[in-house]
Amino acid sequence: MNRLRLLFLTPAGIVLGALFLAPLAIMLAYSFLTRGAYGGVTADFSFENYQRVLDPLYAVILLRTFVMAATATLGCLVLGFPLALFISQSGARKNLYLQLVILPFWTSFLVRTYAWMFLLRDTGLVNSALLAAGLIHAPLPLLYNDGAVFLGLVYGYLPFVVLPLYATLERLDKSLLEAAADLGARPWITTTRIVLPLCAPGFRAGALLVFIPCLGAYLTPDLLGGSKTVLVGNVIQNQFTTARDWPFGSAVSLLLMAIVMVLLMLLIRRGGEKLI
């Protein structure tokens, strides 16, 4: 039995070890070295990279990233709950609506982000329509700001909230809803006092699935935020590409990862409580 288990686990172990743990170890090592003249590293040990992360410039970017990720997560939860509730109450059409939620995954995220650019830019669909309708006289600044990044992140990660919430709603004991109505609760009260609190596990799972990737997002802020909205993901990307400072990029990556892990552990500990 144990040998069989080992046999089945080995492939995953090799993949994770070679493609995840080894690169992580390399990054950890690099983060304590010094940058080479043309990229790469030189073998001079130093703490300088970590000291640089504490520079106010990067601290502000890190803080802004957390605020953006938290706001986008909140946006996803607020939009996702009614949608999941609607789908779970749609009877025979449930599967159709779920397919529609998943449908965007069939197209590349990059292409979909470009689509948003076409919608939001000065000569884009939204501004053209508003101008043509005479509602505005000059194009609205819809692109290249925090709002556009927020929109892009919420759009991109909404399904990750809808799906776990839907799963939680499906598992919900329907007799609890009947009991609430039976005790005199109108639908709104039943939803806010019974359904919403009992969806806590779904909210937690959804929030995790959105918040963590939002922290590391670089494509959306790059394309929709332009040069004004730099998030920590863009900083990391820059260190490994244009700036060619791999040790510093490694240090920022590891710091971000450490913060995420601490948050995760706190959340798991809360989720492990007996009562929701």
Binding site: D173, S175, L176, E178, A179, A180, A181, D182, L183, G184, A185, R186, I189, R193, I194, P197, L198, A200, K274, L275, I276
Partner: protein
């Protein structure tokens, strides 16, 4: 007669089947009324029609003489104790009991909760969550949560079926006592004829969506009007078109009485409080008699005479 609930020709038809078909019955205020029948007979659907979880396809549901078909569950002054109790897992015992009171805007919440907990003897457990309660305690919270709202009718859906069999008999008598004390009308659904007989003032027996018979426990056990009711309430020997219950069937080694039939003992089983003797009549008909063990024992192959009192015949 003070009627609290009345069903007039109530039907519930689904696209695939007819769950309830033209059921008419009246429930007196303060009664302990049982809806009895096998699974799928429509008894739970009937209960849900009264609660408002289902809309009647035809017929009328009247509460205190007022038609309530159009009222939503939260607009009806009836409350339900669910089969699985349906306690809100994220609320404490207190929170569960307060839930309905808050909807009514009751001022003295604490006092009401205290009274309700006293009623079901759960004082001191108001801070517990449902997951921390035993099956019996959960049931009492479910009862308290509903009774505290003083419903016109309390609906109970198989309230004892989720309990441990050992606990069932004890809770049964507690339930009966509780009903006597509060005086609320109980309408309860069960498939267990012993439960229905021991608890109820009135029993309505349902089968395949139809009402078979309504009456007191004695009525439906001793004077069933259909073969289904006779058979569902207990075993029946059908001897030449006449029904006789096993405990009313007497066995003797000599001829006696008006209706005396010779038979042969096939087997005799000791059941503790009685002997169950299976016999075969001349025409091959099998007749079971439950007789006191004090009347001696019977052995297979023995020739005996079966008899019964005319008053014990089930006349259908």
């Amino acid at each position: 007669m003070d009627l609290v609930l009345e069903l007039r020709g109530v039907s519930k038809h689904y696209p695939t089947h007819q769950a309830v078909n033209g059921v008419s019955l009246t429930v007196e205020r303060g009664a302990f009324f049982a809806l009895l029948g096998p699974s799928g007979c429509g008894k739970t659907t009937t209960l849900r029609l009264v609660a408002g979880f289902e809309d009647a396809t035809a017929g009328e549901v009247l509460l205190n003489g007022r038609r309530i078909n159009h009222l939503k569950p939260y607009e009806r002054n009836v409350n339900t104790v669910f089969q699985n109790y349906a306690l809100f897992p994220h609320l404490t015992v207190r929170g569960n009991i307060e839930f309905g009171l808050k909807r009514q805007g009751i001022a003295d919440l604490a006092g009401k909760v205290r009274d309700a907990l006293d009623l079901v003897q759960l004082s001191g457990k108001e801070g517990r969550y449902p997951a921390e309660l035993s099956g019996g305690e959960k049931q009492r919270v479910a009862l308290a949560r509903s009774l505290v709202l003083q419903p016109d009718v309390l609906l109970l859906d198989e309230p004892l079926s989720a309990l441990d069999p050992n606990l069932r008999k004890q809770v049964r008598s507690e339930l009966k006592n509780l009903q006597r004390r509060v005086g609320t009308t109980f309408l309860f659904v069960t498939h267990d004829q012993e439960e229905a007989l021991s608890l109820s003032d009135q029993i309505a027996v349902m089968n395949k969506g139809l009402l078979e018979q309504v009456g007191t426990p004695e009525d439906i056990y001793l004077r069933p009007t259909t073969r289904f009711v006779a058979g569902f309430l207990g075993a029946v020997n059908w001897i030449g078109g006449i029904g006789v219950r096993p405990e009313a069937t007497q066995i003797s080694r000599t001829t006696a009485g008006d209706h005396c039939i010779p038979a042969t003992v096939r087997s005799s089983v000791f059941l503790g409080n009685c002997l169950q003797v299976e016999t075969v009549c001349g025409d091959g008909q099998c007749v079971v008699a439950e007789v006191s063990r004090l009347n001696g024992s019977f052995t297979a192959g023995e020739a005996v005479y079966l008899s019964w009192n005319a008053s014990d015949e089930l006349r259908l």
